[in-house]
């Protein structure tokens, strides 16, 4: 009965979101306030109904109600409670319901916190949000009903896919979806602005917090997914340029560009048309990502199931929204007045450069991801576009951007002084080269590109700090004054600095692990030792054990350095009994930011076992850097000037009006 209630709530949510998609926009068109206000109520109602529906599905999973097909297929009575929860979105139907929940959550946020928005803009935004909600609600109800029943109810479930039984995967999808779907608000604002045919700096001020929040969540989601793939798949890789990874990376690139261009629009009223287009493109990338993942058109490690009707349905949604928004853009963009002028060398110029590179990079990733599909459709020959392609194109494209990042905040609006900025970055360049030299000395050489990469990363970090130091007047005024000034800087200045620093940290991690990691594949018998990264690993033997829903063969290793035991490691292979599916649980130990990574292979007839041992220097920097970026996003979001409608403080001198984080 409760299950049907959840289904019913979802049908009702469809009804309320249809109301929400029609009435407010009519109201805005006719200037009818009461119709416009329906939007707020309807948005809250839709969110409430979807939340009920989601809660019911969660209830079914937690109580292991195997009469529900979705539960039967993706759960098991024996799995730990947390995976009963995460099993709700560890499957196609549930994850679409989560998508829907987050979408309506954002609509409800706009409805609640958008009190300062012009009435018509708010009504239009809510209507556009509801169009998306209606489309996805129909999709769930017609092709992916999570509440379908099984009669008679089976005795036990088929178990959640073992690789999804992990804490990382419990958190990864919600974060990723918060990012993906958060950009829907930017999209709705863009479409609403096009419908109204009016757009100004205030629009950018309203959109930026949403873009920033979505970007922060997306960054966290991607980072979490990458770390999950690293430790759970047991291949030791952290990024595979897999189509599904690309699907989340493209909106991230476009969203990063959007953050920066909205900045120009907010401060200088320039790049209006471009920003609107970018807002549309970012969410289009999110939709495309959903399509690629959910339709299973691409061979991917993530494709749960392939069902042609679903693919066609999402493709229709994709075409409708992207095509519709772009047509609207084509008709209306000329009505929008272009704004402020600027010299090529200026803060605006730097941000345009950023946008140019980021969108080109996104387009490159898109091309690489879709090219195999297109080629197969046209010629029938199958190719795989893998890491070599992306490393070559994406890597080269990023290079000029990374070099330019510290310059951006140092250039003045309107007309900047490139030479002056370069002079101020002397120290940063010097520190970068110095560290590069030290690495050269410590590693006795090493590939020149790697040294350059590490120097570049250090330069990024030092460059971001330079910006803060210059703003505080460090060295020019007394220490206490500088400290007071630093404290007085807007939070967004720290946000910018943190995010840019994070980029440097991540870069150092990527370069260090790519250039200096070592990998050994050896056959080991108990008592044998092998070296990795200066540590000695001794294989002590195997042990069998049972988990709640799996059996496990674990190898025990003792790690020592110079004859002194430092730590011990377990690396295992599990066999999940319900699905008869084996997984690898790699043994990982951190030493500072570096890690030892041990993965077990097959047991040999003579009692030995094949072991793969990696030494991954500074690998934690990759995800550590994203933590900086996330912190940058959060700090910027807390800047009072970003809060919608917050009164701006007039006492700040012009010089200190800085851009919020990118």
């Amino acid at each position: 009965m409760i299950i049907e209630l959840g289904h019913y709530a979802l049908v009702l949510a469809l009804a309320t979101s249809i109301l929400q998609s029609l009435l407010p926009i009519f109201g805005a068109l006719r200037g009818d306030r009461s119709l416009m206000q329906v939007g707020t109520t309807a948005a809250l109602a839709t969110f409430g109904l979807v939340a009920v529906s989601f809660a019911v599905l969660t209830y079914a999973h937690v109580t292991s109600d195997f009469s529900v097909q979705n539960v039967w297929e993706n759960s098991h009575s024996l799995i730990p409670l947390i995976y009963k929860y995460s099993g709700v979105w560890g499957n196609h139907e549930g994850s679409m319901l989560l998508w829907m929940l987050i979408l309506t959550f954002f609509s409800a946020l706009v409805a609640t916190f958008g009190r300062n928005l012009p009435e018509t803009l708010k009504a239009n935004v809510l209507s556009v949000q509801a169009w998306i909600a209606t489309a996805f609600c129909l999709f769930i109800l017609l092709t992916s009903n999570p509440f379908a029943r099984l009669l008679p109810a089976p005795g036990d479930g088929k178990d959640l896919n073992p690789v999804l039984q992990d804490i990382g995967l419990a958190i990864h999808p919600p974060l990723l979806y918060l990012g993906y779907v958060g950009f829907s608000v930017c999209f709705s604002f863009a479409v609403a602005a096009l419908i109204e045919g009016r757009i100004d700096a205030a629009w950018a001020r309203w959109v930026r917090p949403w873009a920033l929040a979505a970007w922060t969540c997306l960054t966290a989601g991607i980072s979490m997914g990458s770390y999950w793939a690293y430790y759970e798949l047991g291949w030791g890789g952290w990024w595979f340029w897999d189509p599904v990874e690309n699907a989340s990376f493209m909106p991230w690139l476009a969203g990063t560009a959007l953050l920066h261009s909205a900045l120009v629009m907010e401060k200088r009223e320039a790049l209006k048309i471009w920003t609107v287009l970018l807002a549309i493109m970012t969410f289009s990338m999110s939709l495309l990502g959903t399509f690629l993942v959910r339709s299973g058109v691409l061979t991917s490690v993530h494709a749960f199931a392939t069902d042609p009707t679903r693919g066609v349905f999402i493709l229709a949604i994709l075409v409708f929204f992207i095509g519709g928004a772009l047509s609207l853009f084509a008709f209306r963009a000329t009505h929008l007045k272009a704004g402020g002028l600027f010299a090529p060398i200026s803060r605006e110029g730097a941000l345009v450069f950023n946008n140019l590179i980021l969108t080109t990079a996104a387009a490159t990733v898109l091309t690489g991801t879709l090219y195999p599909l297109v080629l197969e459709a046209l010629t029938g020959s199958k190719i795989s576009v893998g890491p070599p392609f992306f490393n070559m194109t994406f890597g080269l494209l990023m290079l000029p951007l990374l070099l330019a990042v510290p310059f951006g905040p140092l250039l003045a609006w309107k007309r900047g002084d490139l030479f002056g900025a370069g002079q101020r970055l002397f120290a940063a360049v010097g520190i970068g080269l110095l560290i590069g030299g030290i690495v050269y000395y410590v590693e006795h050489g090493g590939p020149i590109m790697a040294l350059f990469g590490i120097a570049l990363g250090v330069y990024l970090i030092a460059g971001s700090l330079t910006d803060l130091a210059l703003r505080a007047g460090l060295g020019k005024v007394s220490g206490s004054v500088a400290f007071r000034r630093l404290k007085g800087l807007p939070r967004s200045a720290f946000g910018t600095s943190l995010a840019h620093m994070g980029l440097g940290v991540t870069l150092i991690g990527i370069v260090a692990v790519t250039a200096f990691e070592t990998e050994h594949v050896v056959e080991m018998k108990p008592g044998m030792t092998t070296e990795a990264g200066g540590y000695t690993l001794r294989f002590d033997g195997m042990r069998q054990s049972n988990g709640p829903n799996y059996t496990e063969d674990s190898g025990h290793f003792t790690v020592s350095i110079g004859g002194v035991n430092v730590t011990e490691m377990w690396s295992s292979k599990r066999l999940y009994t319900a699905r008869r599916m084996p997984t690898t649980e790699a043994g990982i130990r951190s030493f500072g930011a570096s890690q030892l990574y041990v993965s077990l292979g097959d047991a040999m007839a003579d009692g030995g076992v094949v072991v793969r041992i990696w030494w991954k220097p500074f690998i934690l920097c990759i995800w550590g850097g994203t933590l900086f970026m996330i912190a940058g996003g959060v700090v910027s979001l807390s800047d009072r000037r970003l809060r919608v409608g917050a009164p701006s403080r007039a006492k700040k001198p012009k010089k200190l009006v800085l851009e919020p984080a990118e």
Binding site: N161, T306, Y371, I383, S384, P388, F389, R580, R612
Partner: protein
């Protein structure tokens, strides 16, 4: 600079950059992609040595032999042709005889075996790589979901 010159500088720079990016992508496509083949294709076409390709099919029953250390030999078949593969490393968890597999690597001159450096693992016990499934269906070898188990 006048308004016109400024605009020209920005647009010109942008177009130049885009052009460079397009050339880069085209160059990368000519260099860094791997074509997908089945054993049957290799009977018809000769792959020059040192060319990276993907080879997919089913792991032939009884063909998996462990060599020295972590070197493994097995054969990939599509019931029309069979190609022997040498791989050094740890096989994915779901690698089994009779199962679908995709390997990536190259032929080296003087050795008839395909030298793979990557053997792809997928997340499902019934998994059949899409490329392989499509082709096996075409050739009538595919026997539905059961055959893949």
């Amino acid at each position: 600079m006048s308004r016109k010159q400024k605009r020209l500088a920005i647009i010109g720079g942008g177009v130049g950059f885009l052009l460079a990016a397009v050339l880069l992508v085209m160059f990368a496509f000519s260099q860094a992609v791997a074509y997908f083949y089945m054993p049957a294709d290799l009977q018809k076409t000769q792959i020059p040595p040192e060319t990276r390709i993907r080879l997919g099919g089913l792991v032939a029953e009884g063909s998996v032999k462990r060599g020295q250390g972590s070197t493994v030999n097995f054969a990939v078949t599509d019931s029309i042709g069979t190609v022997k593969v040498t791989y050094t490393g740890i096989l994915p968890d779901l690698f089994r005889e009779g199962q679908g597999v995709v390997t990536e690597g190259k032929f080296v001159s003087g050795n008839p075996d395909f030298v793979a450096d990557t053997v792809l693992a997928k997340h499902d016990e019934n998994y059949m790589p899409k490329d392989v499934a499509d082709r096996l269906k075409e050739q009538g070898v595919w026997k539905g979901e059961e055959a893949a188990k």
